[in-house]
Amino acid sequence: MKPLASRSLMAALAVAFLVVPLFAGTFTVSLLNEIGIGALVALGLVLLTGVGGATSFGQAAFVGIAAYASAWLTTAHGMSPWLGLPFALLLTGLSALAIGMLTLRLGGHFLALSTIAWGLSISMLFGNLDALGRHTGLSGIPPLAIGGWSLMEPRAMYYLVWTVVGLGFLFSRNLLDSRPGRAIRGLRGGATLLASVGADAYRLRLSLFVTAALLAGLAGWLYAHMNRFVSPSPFSVHASIEYLLMAVAGGLGSLAGALVGSGLVLALKNVLQDVLPWLTQRSGQLDSIVFSALFIALLHFARGGLMAFVRRWRRRHGAGRPAPAHAAPARPLPNRAMPARGTPILSVQGAVKRFGGLVAVNDVSFDLGAGEILGLIGPNGAGKSTMFNLLTGTIPMTSGRVRFLDRDVSGMRQLEIARLGLGRTFQHVKLRPHMSLLDNVALGVHARTRPSILRAGLRLDREEERRILHEARRQLDRIGLGDRAHEMAGSLPLGTQRILEIARALASDPFLLVLDEPAAGLRRQEKLALGNLLRRLREEGMTILIVEHDMDFVMNLVDRLVVMNFGSKLVEGAPAAVRADERVQAAYLGGTA
């Protein structure tokens, strides 16, 4: 939609925010307060589960840690609630860090179950610590006060809660729209994708986990001083599940989903409480039934939650993405100096890879000099891709050596090799379909810049951000997609996606570019264009290793060819010589063996 429209919407939002308490009863206000608190926790879940892809059944435990921390500090030691805030956040953050380091390496279902495990354990702990009033909990928690003005009254609390909620949303939005944010949105693409741009998936997930926990912590602190009474039950696994319901009902696909979801769940429960008694005596017991039924129905109509409706509506009313904010001029990022033509860049010596009994790569050796294009060819299943994964460090070698820029990189992790200056593309394209072309390419710049989650969230990263986007645009223009920078990568034809991967690889400013079947699925003209691009790169001193099927394409491009067959090197030499070679004919064209 137009910026004007969205600005007026924002204004409307602000006004609504200010006037609500004036015409709403204190009950409605305190309901809104609870919605705000729920939204904070759900927001964390949207980040962690929706964006990061790690399901958590334990957020309520973090709410509890913060709530109890502040409650304990203010009741047992009579300190100010405002001191309770940093204390609560510190405690929540530390426990999240510890739990995260312990569990975040777990995969898929195991991770989800582990969250149930600690979520359940922590909430049980609350009920068994005498200092925390065991199951009865802590009461008489002082209300917050600003100067002499106590925030005991819901209306007063309202402004605090919703200010915090607003800040939480701003922070999250800024975060996602930044360097760490792009990497976080890349998490679903898998660790290999991130490693290929020099990003560490585990550390990203960990910091995301802590961020989500801190949002829950904020909610907990507010909860404690709003209800002024804490007991274990609101922090049980059931509560965690309810927060998850909120996030899903609103829509894990968007930050606003957290707000919408929290509002939907709490308001719905409340409305049911009012409506059902008109239908039946036993309304109390019908609440949960009707609620669950409606919830299931919602997911039947919109798996993406309520926000999915909004998205559809916007699509139907043609309100697309914003006119791309015009690229502000920025200092280009420094580029590495390309080594002198001919200096050895990569050398593979006696590489061997065994999968169980099968020998996928059998004692293959070859060298690669700066400014050279080497083609690695061979029939399907010849072991090219395995070779590929060996020298990029994606999978460990059984034996042999790989030297990259006169450093022995065999046994190094993929992301370390990538940071040294090795850019790669994937045979099965690894792009983030729901991210724009620009963001996908900017992901490639990751290792060249620093901004942290905190600086990104606080918008202190704009200078670097501009330089990152500037670099990304440059690479997009280079491959001739500059004019489509804001389309979603998923909407590109497969062939173009492959080229986009090249741009992402280039954005990491590599010495060596390793391409896996870049021409597959390209039209004739596109192939010619790709060929020219690669030649131009070569002139600029880039070194390129290319695995390709399309003989026509390869023959007219590369300086040298290495032919593999059944895991071993068959021939090495100039295209013409290779083409003439009998063995190649036999192996490649399935002629007489």
Partner: protein, 248 residues
């Protein structure tokens, strides 16, 4: 064009398949006569596999799809299997944790055979692939590439298909095994099974088929009698690495 007589076994008219906004198959029309072997060749990502998946009903598609005159649209995969269509996908899709024998038995699932009939059909498959008989108790995922391909074809044969669609049967196989499989394919034709063969290995495919189509970026670039195709300059250029650079 090869002489067309009676209703074709398979008729694909202006078929379109799209992944989201991306069209992978863009208006492809092919026909296959009873008892014919037709090959579709083309580079990676040309849309060959997509084409077969659409014919099999694994992917939604637009355009005409007729099998022995019957409209296939509206029939799900399983129904098409019951009609006698059978696909051996590039990825084989075997039941890795089950022994060879079970894989074969399941192949005949759609036929609901009596034990005796089942045994007979097993024997006929074993007769064709003696290797499978030796391996019958072995888990499918412990087989070698060639054996897997045989099992995939064998499983397909268990359903007594009228049209067999093979996706890259030569994928990752040694030339010798490729020959073996292709000779079996030819033998199948003798038993009245029609075959749609998708291959990257152009020469092998054209050698063993009557008629061929060349698929490029989702469109039919060329078609004709296999013999003629294998002599065509552009085919040689693209698949046999000849230095021809004509523009199309």
């Amino acid at each position: 064009m090869s002489a067309t007589t009676g209703t074709p076994m398979l008729e694909v008219g202006d078929l379109r398949v799209a992944y989201g906004r991306v069209e992978a198959v863009r208006g492809v029309s092919i026909a296959l006569q009873p008892g014919q072997i037709v090959s579709v060749i083309g580079p990676n990502g040309a849309g060959k596999t997509t084409l077969l998946s659409a014919v099999m009903g694994l992917l939604p598609s637009q355009g005409a799809l007729r099998f022995e005159g019957e409209d296939l649209r509206g029939l799900d995969v399983e129904a098409r299997v019951e009609r006698g269509l059978c696909l051996v996908p590039e990825t084989r899709e075997l039941f890795g944790e089950l022994p060879v024998l079970d894989n074969l038995r399941l192949g005949a699932y759609s036929r609901r055979l009596r034990p005796q009939a089942l045994r007979d059909r097993l024997d006929s498959v074993y007769a064709r692939f003696p290797r499978l008989a030796e391996r019958r108790t072995q888990r499918a995922d412990t087989l070698s590439g060639g054996e897997r391909q045989m099992l995939a074809v064998g499983r397909a044969l268990m359903s007594a298909p009228r049209l067999l669609m093979l996706d890259e049967p030569s994928l990752g196989l040694a030339p010798l095994i490729v020959r073996e499989i292709l000779s079996i394919v030819r033998a199948l034709r003798e038993d009245g099974v029609s075959i749609l063969l998708v291959e990257q290995n152009a020469r092998a495919a054209l050698e063993s088929s009557d008629f061929g189509y060349v698929l490029e970026t989702g469109e039919i670039a060329l078609s004709g009698d296999s013999a003629a195709l294998s002599e065509d300059a552009r085919v040689r250029a693209t698949y046999l690495g000849g230095g021809a650079d004509d523009d199309a």
